[in-house]
Assembly symmetry: C2
Homo-oligomer: 340 residues x 2
């Protein structure tokens, strides 16, 4: 029942839940605890009073489905779990305030690894203003499960919303596309993976500054984050009955991206359109605001590229791509389930 | 890729994530959606502005560890997941406002079962004022995982806290003890389990009214909910360096509880002290407030029984029990890890 002298060196099973909670409580605090009234250690966490509407997002990542310990470190899994949630707040234009973390762990998991994951969740979320304030640990006989919930705030009149864009609105994406999917494909094959693409897959950067600035501007008619791929997530933008036309010649990718993908037999266009997990923002804006919206991107350090427009034809229409691509893409991304 | 004509009849794998999300979105709304600005269907949920401090709690339940589909229905698992979280809010004296639900599901899980779980989470949490506003679905190759997060609110000056009780403060518990553990033990053995004990284990009632009334009264010095058993959770009450003396002769149990436990070779005192998952509240109050605190219990329909007091001796001290019990209990519940 007693913890070993160096509990960090042992396994979760040997240390036990209480010992692990103790070790977690001793981790250095995440940077920002200003907004917290009561953190870890009571029945529930309490925040200082929010000035705006509470915005809530949660995600569950399962080993073998959403991540693979064969090529991702525990710290990277923590980073990704935090970033994926924060990205949802970015897509609403909300400001993060607090983070909760649930873990299902196996008895043989190393305490050192678990602490690295927890510390990384706290660091990443803390960097964006959402300190880790509570959570729960459970044992499991199966895969490791990481579930993160983030609480943010935003004024309801300044929220970025889905399903609000009208035909003619231009569609823009932040940053570059396909990098996360290329990183994943290369790591899965055990191929040499440039740091840039490994980071895109495992250490995504939620576009919180950009989301907040766009929300504040009032110049965007709809927004979503790109977690399932541009072709799916762009469909969150238009009003009911409308769709999105994407120009294949304008999808922003990193220099060398297409060549590296082709070198490994991968279709760069497919990665950029459908790869997912880029955690960029896709937004719609009336033509007259496109320049202003792009200026906001430039000001927050994340360029916005116009990639298409909202149309009155439901679903995704791909134009400007190589022969045969649009049709194949259409089948894939625009079945009855992918339309909203 | 297409959903069957009656998607509810099929498996999660056949329906797919998008189809399952569609089916969930079509469930009848939980009763209370007054406090919700944006519910399921955007990147994140948005609440109407909270008037008080946000209070956050999260729990993760893993099949085979925290529940067993062999003897619990999916609805019961949903009930328990929601109630366990709401109980943490009760222990803070907070009022529930919103609920998030994450599920890890296997391809062969039945859609009908999953919808029953989701509907029950929404109903139970909705009954207490916390509608289901969002969540996440993931696949898994392992056990089913259910993770619930609840957001509540409370005024920071009116919170029930841990670690605040002083020597001499009386310790009181709500309702009865050991029923959830007895229900679990009987179900695990496949023994006939009276409905009362099955409900205690699988459909616990969070003591939200009681917690809120106690918090409002200002007459309680500390509080916690009983999830790990009275002997462990009572130790959340005293200030650092102090402990709790429990009178074994005063532990409240249901009529017939002890006889039924003994009939199955179980120690009723051990069930009441260490069984856990009763989700009752354990509170401390100065002697002069005990009567008033008990009146609050009576008014909210949940009697409070005085079971001991805070002392300057760290850990749990059991008095009034059968010979040999206190020592055995002490070893079990008061190792270096159980003290706070």
């Amino acid at each position: 029942m007693r913890a070993s002298r160096n509990p960090i060196a042992g396994s979760v099973g040997a240390l036990g839940e209480v010992g692990l909670l103790d070790a977690i409580a001793k981790l250095p605090r995440s940077r920002s605890v200003r907004g917290v009234e009561i953190g870890i250690g009571d029945d529930a966490a309490v925040l200082k009073k929010l000035k705006q509407n509470a915005v809530l997002s949660t995600d569950m990542l399962v080993e073998g489905v959403d991540f693979d310990l064969a090529w991702a470190t525990w710290a990277e899994i923590g980073h990704k779990a935090a970033a994926a949630n924060l990205s949802d707040l970015a897509a609403m234009g909300a400001t993060p305030r607090a983070t909760l973390l649930c873990l299902a762990l196996r008895p043989h998991d190393r305490v050192r690894n678990v602490l690295q994951l927890v510390r990384t969740v706290a660091e990443v979320a803390g960097t964006y203003g959402a300190p880790l304030v509570g959570g729960d640990l459970s044992g499991t006989g199966g895969p490791v499960v990481v579930s993160v919930t983030v609480v943010g705030e935003a004024h309801k009149a300044r929220l970025l919303r889905r399903h609000r864009a009208a035909p003619g609105d231009r569609v823009l994406v932040s940053g570059t596309l396909g990098g996360a999917a290329l990183g994943l494909a290369l790591m899965r094959r055990g191929a040499k993976t440039p740091g840039r693409y490994r980071r895109r897959q495992l250490r995504p950067e939620p576009r919180l500054k950009l989301g907040a600035a766009l929300a504040y501007s009032g110049k965007v008619t709809a927004a979503a984050d790109i977690s399932d791929g541009l072709a799916k997530d762009a469909l969150h933008l238009p009003r009911e009955g409308c769709g999105v036309e994407l120009d294949m010649t304008r999808l922003p990718v990193s220099p060398g991206f297409a060549a590296l993908a082709r070198e490994h037999g991968l279709d760069p266009l497919r990665l950029a359109l459908a790869g997912g997990e880029d955690f960029e923002l896709v937004v719609a804006a009336p033509l007259r605001h496109v320049r202003a919206v792009q200026n906001i991107g430039a000001r927050t350090g994340v360029p916005l590229t116009e990639v298409g427009q909202v149309t009155d034809r439901p679903g995704i229409t791909c134009v400007g791509g190589p022969a045969g691509f649009a049709a194949a893409g259409f089948e894939h991304f625009n079945g009855p389930k992918a339309t909203v």
